[in-house]
Every structure is written in structure tokens, then in C-alpha cells.
Amino acid sequence: MEYILETNQLEKTYHHFKAINNLNIHVPKGSIYGLIGKNGTGKTTLIRLICGLQKPTNGGYTIYGIKDTEKEILDIRKRMGAIIETPSIRLDATAEDNLKEQYRMIGLPSFDNLQELLKLVGLANTGKKKARHFSLGMKQRLGIAIALVGNPDFLILDEPINGLDPEGIIEIRELILTLNKEKGITFLISSHYLDELSKISTHYGFIKNGTMLQEIAKEQLEEKCKKRIELEVSNVKECVKYFEERQFSYEVISEKRLNLYNKINITDLAIALSEKNCIINKFQEKEESLESYYINLMGGGNNE
């Protein structure tokens, strides 16, 4: 798999506090990578390091295979855009002037596609209205438009839906999905809104106390979270044999326990298994949401 961003034992220490601790992250090309963690777990610090705003204390990272210590990293950064906490916009300028400034800063010879960009983020009709009078959602979309100048193929968004109303959240979500599908832009999005992230992410990274607890693809996560029957049986071997014969989807958890992912009639199953000298001692229907998965992963109440 081709990764746009990889970190290697990344570490950032402020005085005696380790904000990032031996963190490894792998952002696949073309993905929407959701970085999930509580407030203060190091999500923004990680983004600041990747964007070059701060230097790692130890370890390093590569963007498009270029190490952070190489000179070429500055050229590589031209292929990325970022919104960190608040969008980088000039409040006393219009949306168009903000974009023009970014065109100049990047060194583009003309303002081609400027109107197209404004249209894409839904700000084509803002006219002479100053950014200071924009709603939070509009500012966020303008920030994304600015980050899109120069056609980057990697966008980093730090808490992009913080403070947005439901309509604003939908707009940002739609925009991210459009950019990912139509322009092939890879996203790294940090958030603690699990529900929202679950609607767009193709990959997840769970971060706790500056450490990456788990990286997982959407399909794998769905597999782990999907509806299942947890069975405790007297003879797992016979049970597995039976599931294999019927091509059921299952997972052995321990010597006596398995998960069954197919819809079945429990009476029929109990009769069939008893004929094979296997008794069901306990069964429980389970379904895990991303939220409960996250809570379990983070250690639930022990995490506080």
C-alpha cells in the first residue's frame, strides 16, 4: 500500500511533558483518515509536527516518502494544505481576496479556477462581504478553498466541524467526500466527533496519551463492530466443523467461545449442535458501535 504520510517513533516533549510518545501513523493514498482521540491526547500536536510548525524531539516522519529532515520536504509541502484549529484567513478581506493572496503566495501566474474554487465550497455569491462577517461554516469552507489553491493532493483538517451547526457539518462532510472522490485528495482529519468521522472515514487511527493505540481500515472496523452472536459451547471443534459445512462467518475467541456473524435460528442451531455432542452453554446477541468500540479501546472509565 502506498502511504502519503508515515511517522516513525515520533516524539514531542514540552519540558517534561510528552505530548507525542513513539507514535506511528500510516495514511494511505486516497484515503480519508480519521484521527480519533480525546481532547489533549496529542492530535493537534501531531498535525503541527507534520505541518512543520514544530520540530519533533525524537523520531521523524515522511511525506510522499521524503523525510522531514531532508531539504526537499519544503517542496513536498506545496502538495499539501492544512487547516489547524482555525482556518488561516484574513478577516478583513473578502473570500475572493483571500484566495487571490493564496494564489500570489503559491506563485501561480493567474487566478484561473478561482471562481470554480469558490463555487466548489459554496462561496461564489459572497461578493464584497468581509470574511469577518462569515458564519463559522463559511469560514471553514473558505479555509478549505484556500488550502485547495495549487491543487494539493493531501489535506489535513484539524477538528473541521468544531462549533458548526448541523447544516454546516453536512456541508463540510459533503465537501470532503466530493474532494476525495472527484479529485482524489487524501485527507487526514482529526476529530472527537466519532459519529461524523464514521460517515466519511476510510481508515481510523485511535490515539491516546500521545500514542497510537490502533490503526484500522473501515472494513476491518465494520467487521469488528457488526452484529453477532457470541456463543459459549462445550465443544468448539465440532461447532467450527458445523459452521464450516454451512459456510457460516465466524470467529473463534477462546477455547469455549466463538462469534457467529450469520443470522440463524437459535433453536435449529442448538438441535444441530447437540446431535454433534456440542452443547450451547451460553449465547448473547451483540452489536458494537464505533463509539463503544472506541470506549473499549480507550479503556472506558479507567481512561479518565
Partner: protein, 286 residues
């Protein structure tokens, strides 16, 4: 870096801080012109020498305001962050901001001089000093402005809070003015007091007496060096140099010092910019 400079200059066109400072400069030019014309009603024309450099008293405050607000806004609006994200080196960002501040300082100073020259020359007369001296004064002024720009750029880029950086820059100018005034008497102390006595034949004789308050050569030289390192110190020395009365006692700056003063500014600028760039490179930005 050219792209950053170009962006900064485009920003200047619509920038209210810059516009405000230009308007204030025009106001100061008018007041100083009016005042000089009122005080120069005699037959002999004073010339515009002193008037041309008078704005140097204000340029420090003007540049402190401009640099801290213009570049401080980059911090508060996240523009500085954006520059780094899209791949500009901190060295380029620092130098582009420094150059912008220098150019704005020079612009303001020359707008003032231009206005004063256009209106002042027909009424007050042309320069009384030699062209060579005038050119050295201009050279010193340019380097004083560069020093101011380096100081304020350093403070603003190392302090991410716009309010703190603006207040710090303004207070620093005042401190430098106070320090210059305090150092001036030591730096300009004369070893001998001169007394002019008319003898019996009607001739003027000069008598030199050792000044009891003379601080000593070492103290004087140290004070003078510090004074010349301060842009405010050089300003007061230059203004005394072009004082309107030819025998005014405040005419402290020798011609030789006038020609070498810019070297002090250059040294201070190199040190401050070096330290500033080094610290900015290592600074954790948010």
C-alpha cells in the same frame, strides 16, 4: 522569497495600518512645516536641513506600530502558519517580513522628506549643509530605519501575541529614547570648558579649563558606543548635527562620526537579525 514579498506588498495596498501611518506622517509634516515657517519670519532663510530630519523622532514609533500590527496580524489570522504549511522556510518568511518593514520605513521617511522639500524649499530655502554631509545623513537615516525594522521584526516574529508584541515594541522605543537621553550627557561630555574672553585689544581669546564633571575617556567612549548602537541615540546625534544655530553647543557629532555611524546600525542589525532568525527557526508555532 520573491513571492512572499509580492504578497506582502499587495497586502500593503489595502492595508489600513499602513494608510493610517502615511496619513499621520503627512499630518506631522504639516505641523512641523507650519511651526518652522512661523518661527522663520526673518530675512535670512533657515533652510530645510533640520526640518528634513526631524521626522526621525517619530519614525521609531511609526515603524513599531506598523511592524507589530502588520506582522502580528499574520500570527492572529493564521497566515504565518499557512506560509509554513505550504512550504516556505522560516528564513524566507523572516527575511521577507524584515524587508517589508524596511521598505515601509523608508517609504514613510521619504514621503515625509518629499512633502517637506516640495513645500519647504520655496519658503525656507534649500539645504544649508554640503551635499556630501547630506548624503551621509541620508545613509545614516537609512541604516537607522533598517535597525528599527530588525528590532521590531525580531520582537513580532518571536512573540505570537499581537497585543504583547505591539505594546513591547512601543515601550521599547520609549525606553531607547530615555536611555539615549541618559547616555547623551556622558557620551557628549567635553573634557575642557571653553570660555571666550575679549582682551584689551578687542580680540577674542579662547580659554580652556578642565571640566570637573568629565566622566573620563573610557566611560565616555562606552556611553558613546551604546548611544550609537541605539537608533534613538543616533537620531538625536544627527538632529543635533543639523541644528539651526551654527554654534549651538548640542552639535556633538563630528563629521567623522557622521560618516561611520551607519556601521554601528549595521552591526546591531546583523546581530539582532541573526539572533532573531535563529530563535524563530527553533520556535514552536501554534
Amino acid at each position: 522569497m520573491n513571492k512572499l514579498l509580492r504578497t506582502n506588498f499587495f497586502r500593503l495596498i489595502k492595508n489600513k495600518i499602513f494608510l493610517g501611518i502615511v496619513i499621520i506622517t503627512l499630518g506631522i509634516a504639516s505641523v512641523l512645516l507650519f511651526n518652522t515657517i512661523i518661527n522663520n519670519q526673518g530675512e535670512t532663510k533657515e533652510g530645510i536641513d533640520r526640518l528634513l530630519v526631524m521626522y526621525m523622532f517619530f519614525i521609531g514609533i511609526a515603524m513599531a506600530m506598523f511592524t507589530s500590527l502588520f506582522m502580528g496580524t499574520e500570527y492572529s489570522d493564521g497566515i504565518l502558519r499557512n506560509k509554513i504549511v505550504i512550504g516556505y522556510s522560516r528564513k524566507d518568511i523572516y527575511l521577507a517580513d524584515l524587508i517589508t518593514s524596511i521598505i515601509v520605513g523608508l517609504c514613510i521617511q521619504f514621503i515625509y522628506m518629499l512633502i517637506v522639500a516640495i513645500i519647504g524649499i520655496p519658503i525656507l530655502g534649500t539645504l544649508q549643509m554640503t551635499v556630501e554631509k547630506f548624503l551621509f545623513i541620508i545613509l545614516d537615516i537609512v541604516f537607522i530605519i533598517i535597525t528599527y525594522a530588525s528590532i521590531f521584526t525580531c520582537i513580532t516574529l518571536l512573540c505570537s501575541d499581537i497585543t504583547i508584541s505591539t505594546v513591547s515594541c512601543m515601550i521599547l522605543v520609549l525606553i531607547m529614547f530615555i536611555a539615549s537621553m541618559a547616555l547623551s550627557s556622558t557620551a557628549n561630555a567635553m573634557k575642557y570648558d571653553e570660555t571666550y574672553i575679549q582682551n584689551e585689544n578687542g580680540e577674542i581669546e579662547v580659554h580652556q579649563n578642565l571640566n570637573p564633571d568629565y566622566p573620563g575617556d573610557l566611560k565616555k567612549n562606552v556611553a558613546k558606543t551604546i548611544l550609537y548602537c541605539l537608533p534613538t541615540g543616533q537620531t538625536s546625534q544627527i538632529i543635533s548635527q543639523v541644528s539651526k544655530k551654527p554654534f549651538q553647543i548640542t552639535n556633538y557629532m563630528s563629521d567623522n562620526e557622521l560618516k561611520t555611524a551607519f556601521l554601528y546600525s549595521l552591526g546591531v542589525t546583523i546581530i539582532i537579525t541573526g539572533v532573531g532568525m535563529y530563535s524563530f527557526k527553533r520556535k514552536d508555532l501554534k
